[in-house]
Amino acid sequence: MNKTWVTPGGVHPPENKHQSVTQSIGQLPMPETLVIPLSQHIGAAAIPCVEIGQSVLKGQIIAKPAGMVSIPMHAPTSGTVSAIEHRPIAHSSGMLAPCIEITTDGADTWIEHEGISDYEHISPRKLLEMVGNAGISGMGGAGFPSAVKLNPGRQRPIDTLIVNATECEPYITADDSAIRERAAEIVEGIKILSAILDHPHHIMIGIEDNKPEAIEALAPHVEGTGISVVVFPTKYPSGGEKQLIYILTGKELPSGKLPADLGMVCINIGTTYAIKRAIIDGEPLVSRVTTVTGDAVGIQRNYDTLIGTPVSHMLAHNEYNEQAGGRVVMGGPMMGFTLPSAEVPIIKTTNCILAPSYQEIPDDEPAQPCIRCGMCAEACPASLLPQQLFWYAQAEDHERLEAHNLFDCIECGACSYVCPSNIPLVQYYRAAKGEIRHARDEKVKSDHARERFEFHKERIEQAEREKEEKRAARREAALKAKANPPAATAEGQTNASAPSSSAADIIAAAQARAAAKQASPEDQQAKLERTIAAAEQRLIVAEQKLAEAVASNSDKQAIFSAAVENTRQKLEQSKTKLAELTA
């Protein structure tokens, strides 16, 4: 039995997990189209490497990683690429982002793929490469590319591997059901992770005591492997990385540090399954377990969902009743965000679609004044003073906010959950964080501008000083010349041509400089041609945007049409200039 530590604060919202685990993990009918956002992870968005109309097979790479912290995207099923464009994605702002749409053919034909079974004899570097190529990013929270996380570098050897099976958010049972049904493969995945990390001393699966079936399912597979299943009392938010590290090790992750700095890697249990599939079966990450739950859907169940499946498809196949509830949440009721529409797709981090009824989650009551009762401070897992943060957030007192460690807030929502005055505290903190970040950026910018200005001033002054010195020197020379005219005439014979020749030199040099500035006609022509090419490109983009705006009847039509006109005029100007030059 491993010792566990107790975190401060925390809340016990109704768990509501039983509804979705009455049936095993199901399979949805194949959606007609899948929409794969190019950015489903932290880091650079992937770059499409397919064309519209191209047929793709399941598992085929459709977008390549852009740089080190990025992942490739794979076709989740076979079909045809039908669009590469901006689509609404699962983001709390309801923004559009580049996506690849695949029209499925229903055959679900795999691309040729092959895994390896003797991963013990493969170098960690090669295994990491396979993880990276399989497009795996963390499936529990932020979606950090796994291959990057698993490669902390030689100066940070990993001593502890923590597998996060906490799933502390109410309603969500994706990890729970995956463990129940796939325990063997999950443990296999953990063993692969152990091989990648050069066999850390401690490997712990952290799980809350409200999942006895999952704990039981893991038991036979971890026996004799050195992997320990650590069970601890259920409390929200035990599944936060910082909280879980403390619960399992008694260590706090210093503010601003990563687990790797403490010799730890913390990875979601769903990710371990994806890693097993990637290495042993050679399959990239094209599907994940997602819970569909809440009283507004008729069927509450977990599904092995293809990445890119539209939420509308999931809702339609689970008897969603639009009248029963007003919001649809991606994620859980504590940290999940409401979807702008049902057209957004499931991505690699989507563990739950929650469609609560009005009875379950009624509309918010209006906020009452904060009476500083301190219930929020009792609930805060980071030992912050939420009531003070709220006070200073309202006052936009950035200094006090930072002194009260605003940036250590993990936005778990425990404070808002307990607030008797219904104050949307987390919303205030998010806004305040945004403002402070913005202010910091602005400060960097203005510092930069000030430095540039000061440097500029310095340079001008320097030039002035030099000029002044030269003038002084000339005056002195002139005075000398006046004072000693005989000497000048005496030496006049030998040096007479010297001043005039130096004057001529100065003029010649000035002419040369002017000529150099006036580029050759060839250069000018090349430059103009480049300008025209760029302007043409801009015109195309601007016209596309205008077309989009017109199609969606957006209020930005005027702006875009002005932009198009402007670009066109500039292009015309450049063309006339070019004609003049070549004529």
């Binding site: 919001r327 209006p366 301190g374 460690n405 250590d408 808002s416 959950y417 607030c419």
Partner: protein, 354 residues
Amino acid sequence: MAFKQVTSPHAHSAQSTAKVMQLVIWATVPGILALTWQFGWGSIINVVIATVTAVISEAIIVKMRGRSVSFYLRDYSAIVTALLLALSLPPLAPWWIIVVGTVFSIVLAKQLYGGLGYNPFNPAMVGYVVLLISFPIQMTTWVSPLALLPEGVTHPGFIESLQIVFGGMIPVDGVTGATPLDVFKHNSGLLVDQVYDREPLFNQGIFAGAGWEWVNLAFLLGGLILLSNRIFTWHGPLGMLGALALMSVIFYDSGSSTSPGSALMHLFSGASMFGAFFILTDPVSSAVSNRGRLIYGALIGVLVYIIRAWGNYPDAVAFAVLIANFAAPFIDNYTLPRTYGHTDRRRATEKEEG
């Protein structure tokens, strides 16, 4: 399909500010019963007058401020303020005392500062202190506890009480008398043991003065109910009671004739328990962190003792609380909890490095 856009968290606990206030109101019931049992109908009449005055003045001010009257009255905070003031006032005090105090509490101490959540001082205690300074005679005339009434005299009945409160009728001789704290304040030359022996207030009582010990026990019970419902944490009350007990042990002076009284007497007399569980636990005007509330409570305990022992007033909870209200932001500044992932506690005014 377009969905409603709401920020997380979506789940909320069932607790509400109105429920918190209602629970505080219910928790005063044992105290009201004890007061009525020991001192007659006066306290209940106080409560009724204060509540009506508070609701009316709150409604008028909220209306004048252009806010929704029903929304702000529904938080029950005006009733709590009224209740706390009414229970501090002497039973059978004239009606206008209560009205003036309540109007001061609600209008000046609460609404003029911005209403619930914005008042730097405990509204009930502001009202109390205004009355104590302006009308010292009415404010220091307490009814005698049940056990001390002379032969054949009872507490005035309900109708008679109304006549005293509204009609200015003078109560029968012996109905009013000293409090245990008065006894010690005006003690001249008696050892503590002799006081307990000879003073009827003490020889009729069990451990801390007839009547008063029951009232304090009742408020202790109400406070424990609130504590078990997590309306507040133990820090403030324990800080005050601990400091008060410690001070009275240190300065007990082995029960000499100048002793300000025993720890037990101080804990269970006057407004000690009422103050510890109902007054200093007002979150709005107190310190915010747990450590801060412990210090805030202790400060009040020390001040209560100092004023009781060496000041001009026999009891001092109101003054002590108001002085501590002044100190609350200062205490907050130095009592930030240590945040996860930080090695040191910070100061609220600390600036970022660099």
